[in-house]
């Protein structure tokens, strides 16, 4: 029970404690105090996460920044944390996005300000916990607890149909995660009483058990990703959620699903994963191509970006299940990049929505004439979303396509259609919203973005560019962990 580092604990508990503090500032006069405390908390949360990047050892696949304390001895559950090359970047991404979300909600949210900010801060801490937990029950605890703030965020600050969306979101995810709970208890019995994820990785399992476990975890993570055909909660949740909620959903929670595949499905059920490759790739390609086509048909901007997220996440799962380093690292890079880009896209829509209160594409046109600075960012992020080289969107997609090419030309071919579809739906939307003549009086009355909005869009644009131009530092940290995982999966668990 050595406990050498508290970095990860800090990344989890600093935002949560800040969130609880904010909760106490609920008076009407304390709104700005709540905002400043929340900003401070989120910045502090980001600051304590920095050592993860600076102190990370790229050479090892083992867990780093490990903490391990017995917690519930009855079931030998530990408060065990650690990150490897797969999870480290997401803790950083999450801490970073939280700051953006707090700034983005600064003036927009006027009702129940403290509860809003507290929900996001607490949620941020919980999601860091998901990425950092190395004990299965601890993981499950964060994974489930996360639903509570998100449920409230959608339901309280969301759009007109928010109640339906919130309940759908909650029940969909709960169904999946409870099946995972049954799987975890099963593994606890098989390993003779351990909830350590590493022990789950090592325990030998027959093919039937592996297949059942694979589907139990699949039920949980495919809903989160979301994969076709269990994606239907996402457009609803995204459309109804407030801007900040959409940002966190797209940028972080979806990644938790994909992360789960790497942490649970592949290493615990490697042989079943191999056997079900065709199944997984088919679902991924349907997401990429079919959902890509569905995206084209959307008339609501938020829905359009939501569907485009599903399509992009199809890329991620495709990359994971072609079982080579390029595919997997490409998938991970795509996750990070999508975290930046989708956040930015939703923030751009939020900027327009705050002014016009409509998400319909047809309500806009010619925005560039009244909001030139905004138009610059919108076009830039639109380009990134369609995977333009030199933006981060290109890196992941290109790597996955390369990886897929090694396995099967047609996989790569189908995946590559997204470069066309993605460009089509994104740029078409940009064209209709931004360019052309000024469509109506609402657009004529628009004011350009404030310096606050400039700040968060600018920071995200910088992140997208840096990752697009120089992706190496991002992929470097993944190498060892991805290699180790692939080797483990190739070895299998059958005797």
């Amino acid at each position: 029970m050595q406990s050498s580092s508290i970095t990860l604990s800090l990344t989890i508990w600093v935002p949560i404690i800040a969130g609880v503090l904010v909760l106490f500032l609920h008076g009407d006069q304390q709104k700005s105090a709540a905002r400043w405390v929340a900003l401070l908390g989120s910045l502090l949360g980001l600051a304590v996460a920095i050592p993860l990047w600076t102190g990370f050892d790229n050479a090892t696949a083992a867990m780093q920044f490990v903490e391990r304390t017995p917690w519930v001895s009855r079931f030998s559950i530990h408060y065990a944390l650690g990150v490897d090359g797969i999870s480290m970047l997401f803790v950083l991404l999450n801490s970073f996005i939280t700051v953006i979300v707090v700034i983005a909600g600064w003036e927009v949210i006027q009702q129940k300000v403290s509860q809003y900010l507290a929900a996001f801060l607490i949620m941020s801490g919980l999601m860091n916990g998901v990425f950092a937990a190395t004990d299965a029950i601890l993981f499950y605890l964060f994974f489930e607890a996360m639903l509570i703030p998100m449920f409230l965020i959608i339901g309280i600050w969301g759009g007109p149909n928010r109640v339906y969306a919130a309940v759908k979101f909650f029940l969909y995810t709960l169904l999946g995660s409870l099946l995972m709970l049954a799987a975890l208890i099963y593994l606890y019995n098989v390993t003779n009483g351990s909830f350590d994820i590493q022990d789950f990785h090592r325990v030998p399992l027959g093919m039937t058990a592996q297949t059942l476990l694979f589907f139990a975890f699949f039920a949980s993570f495919s809903v989160k990703v979301p994969m076709w055909p269990v994606h239907t909660w996402l457009p609803d949740a995204h459309v109804e959620a407030p801007t900040g909620g959409s940002v966190v959903l797209a940028a972080i929670t979806l990644k938790i699903g994909a992360y789960g595949f790497l942490r649970f499905n592949l290493p615990i059920a490697p042989d079943a994963s191999h056997a079900l490759t065709g199944f997984m790739i088919t679902l991924s390609l349907i997401a990429v191509v079919y959902i890509g086509l569905v995206t084209l048909a959307q008339t609501d901007m938020k829905k359009l970006v939501a569907y485009s997220s599903i399509s992009h996440m199809g890329f991620v799962t495709l990359g994971f299940f072609i079982f080579n380093a390029q595919g997997m690292e490409g998938g991970l890079a795509q996750m990070i990049s999508h975290g930046f880009i989708s956040a930015a896209m939703f923030l751009c829509i939020g900027v327009l929505y705050d002014r016009v209160h409509s998400r319909e594409i047809s309500a806009y046109g010619g925005v560039v004439n009244t909001m030139p600075k905004f138009a610059f960012f919108a076009v830039f992020f639109g380009m990134a979303n369609s995977g333009l080289p030199a933006t981060s969107g290109f890196v992941g997609e290109f790597m996955v396509i390369l990886g897929a090419m090694k396995v099967n030309f047609w996989f790569a071919f189908a995946a590559a259609t997204t470069l066309i579809l993605g460009a089509a739906y994104t740029l078409w939307m940009v064209k209709r919203v931004i360019f052309g003549a000024v469509a109506n009086d609402h657009v004529r009355a628009l004011t350009d973005i404030s310096s606050r909005e400039m700040l968060f869009l600018g920071v995200l644009a910088a992140a997208v560019l840096i990752m697009g131009l120089y992706p190496q530092p991002f992929t470097e940290v993944m190498h060892s962990s991805v290699d180790a995982l692939l080797k483990h999966v190739a070895t299998g668990k059958l005797n």
Partner: protein, 481 residues
């Protein structure tokens, strides 16, 4: 037989409670009306606190009193402590509610203390006769409590139903026990256990008797298909009585079932396991599904109770120490959740108004973010969402059942609890997403508010640190069986 061989000291908490109950009766008689309420309240709380303290005993080996009719072991001590604490909380929660309805009388305190005594005997009994005595002492007091509000037709109807079905259940139980007596020639738990274990496990007479015993127990616990009284009684009884019926008696019922099924008929585990499997599956399904259709919160909680008792059975039917301790943990966790939930209902109720419909919780977050948050904790805890206590209870019983090989049952129960989550979520939805229809300020005494906060945050704190209680339950079970 000498007095010393009776080991009276072991039963001192019960004896003390009985004496104090009689004193309460006298105090009630000789108090002026304006002083009565306060005196009764403080005397009863004082008594229960002393009883709880006097329960403290080393838990290493079971010790017997009254020539083996009464046992004090780890399980009994922990369950009794939980019962006494729960009853004290019931009295604190109920005071304002009952005073406003002119029901806070000597009878109420007297009945609740007698019922407590009955429950304590139930979990400590080691002989079929003492088991039955405890059960009836508890049950008769409870019937009267439900009927305490004489002018309410609904309450009277509920009391009638409760009485008739309860008496029927007792009859079934007695009938079953008489068969077991016929087959084994003994009423002593230990002797019956030994005989069944040695030779007679397959005796059809025992199996036959067991069916009646299980049916009687299922009635008392309120699991499908013997659940019909639960919704009516929960809804019909004054909320304070519902709070009582829904809380401590569940712990006592667990102890009672353990004494009969696990203690004395552990040898016939294969016979009762099958029955429990069916009842657990039905309870979990029916309780959760029908709860969705309810608009009355008390009735909804009644159906939720049915499903929770189904989960409790999952632990018992495992037939292992892990399972038993999980069920024990579940019963205590469940009672803590129920107390908070009904405490909230009573908080929102006031003189002449019963906040028992789901609608009454509308917009609570705007009226009071604090109370809404407390209710949020209870609802998510009942739904089994971590990090609240309810999650650990579910985890423990699921582990017990899975360990015993009931994978399908675990998956089934898990699916049903997703359905269950829906109606708990609906309460949260009403509180947080809807606008309030009622703007009356929420007032409560300091003691009430404090207890409610401690109660709700207890669910969170115990959810973050469940280890102590879990280990205590496991140790108690391991040393008792």
């Amino acid at each position: 037989m000498t007095v010393s061989s009776l080991n009276l000291a072991l039963a001192s908490p019960e004896i003390f409670l009985l004496v104090m109950t009689l004193i309460v009766m006298i105090v009630d008689l000789f108090s002026s009306p304006e002083k009565r309420e306060g005196r009764l309240f403080f005397l009863s709380i004082f008594t229960l606190v002393l009883v709880a303290l006097s329960l403290y005993a080393p838990l290493d080996v079971p010790r017997y009193a009254f020539n083996g009719m009464f046992v004090v072991d780890g399980m009994a001590v922990i369950l009794k402590a939980a019962i006494v604490i729960a009853v004290a909380m019931v009295i604190i929660y109920s005071r304002a509610y009952l005073v406003a309805r002119k029901l806070f009388s000597g009878e109420f305190i007297l009945l609740i203390l007698f019922a407590t005594l009955g429950m304590m005997v139930m979990v400590s009994a080691n002989h079929f006769v003492s088991l039955y005595l405890g059960l009836e002492l508890f049950a008769l007091a409870t019937y009267a409590m439900v009927a305490l509000n004489r002018d309410s037709a609904i309450a009277t109807e509920a009391a009638m139903k409760y009485f008739i079905l309860g008496a029927l259940a007792s009859g079934l139980l007695l009938y079953g026990l008489s068969m077991i007596y016929g087959a084994t020639g003994s009423l002593e738990v230990a002797k019956v256990a030994k005989i069944i274990e040695l030779s007679r496990a397959n005796d059809p007479l025992i199996t036959f008797g067991l069916v009646f015993v299980v049916a009687g127990l299922a009635f008392k616990l309120g699991v499908v298909p013997f659940h019909m009284w639960v919704p009516d009684v929960y809804q019909g009884a004054p909320t304070a009585m519902t709070l009582f019926i829904g809380s401590a008696p569940k712990i006592a019922a667990f102890g009672f079932i353990m004494r009969i099924l696990a203690d004395s008929m552990g040898g016939a585990v294969a016979d009762w396991q099958g029955m429990l499997v069916i009842m657990a599956a039905l309870s979990v399904a029916l309780g959760n599904i029908i709860a969705i259709a309810q608009t009355n919160l008390k009735r909804m909680l009644a159906y939720s109770t049915i499903s929770h008792m189904g989960f409790l059975l999952l632990g018992i039917l495992a037939g292992t120490k892990n399972g038993y301790s999980a069920a024990m943990f579940y019963s205590i966790a469940y009672v803590l959740m129920t107390l908070t939930a009904f405490g909230m209902i009573m908080l929102l109720s006031r003189a002449g108004f019963e906040a028992e419909n789901l609608e009454d919780f509308k917009g609570l977050n705007q009226r009071s973010p604090w109370y809404a948050f407390l209710m949020l904790i209870v609802m998510f805890s009942m739904a089994g969402i971590p990090p609240f206590l309810g999650f650990w209870a579910k985890l423990a019983v699921l582990e017990g059942a899975l360990n015993a090989g009931y994978l399908w049952l675990v998956v089934f129960a898990v699916l049903m609890s997703v359905i269950g989550a829906f109606y708990y979520l609906r309460v949260v939805k009403l509180m947080y997403f809807d606008a309030p229809t009622d703007s009356t300020p929420i007032v409560a005494a300091a003691g009430f508010r404090g207890l409610l906060a401690v109660n709700a945050f207890g669910l969170l704190v115990l959810g973050l640190f469940p280890g102590v209680l879990m280990t205590a339950c496991l140790n108690a079970i391991q040393r008792s069986f």
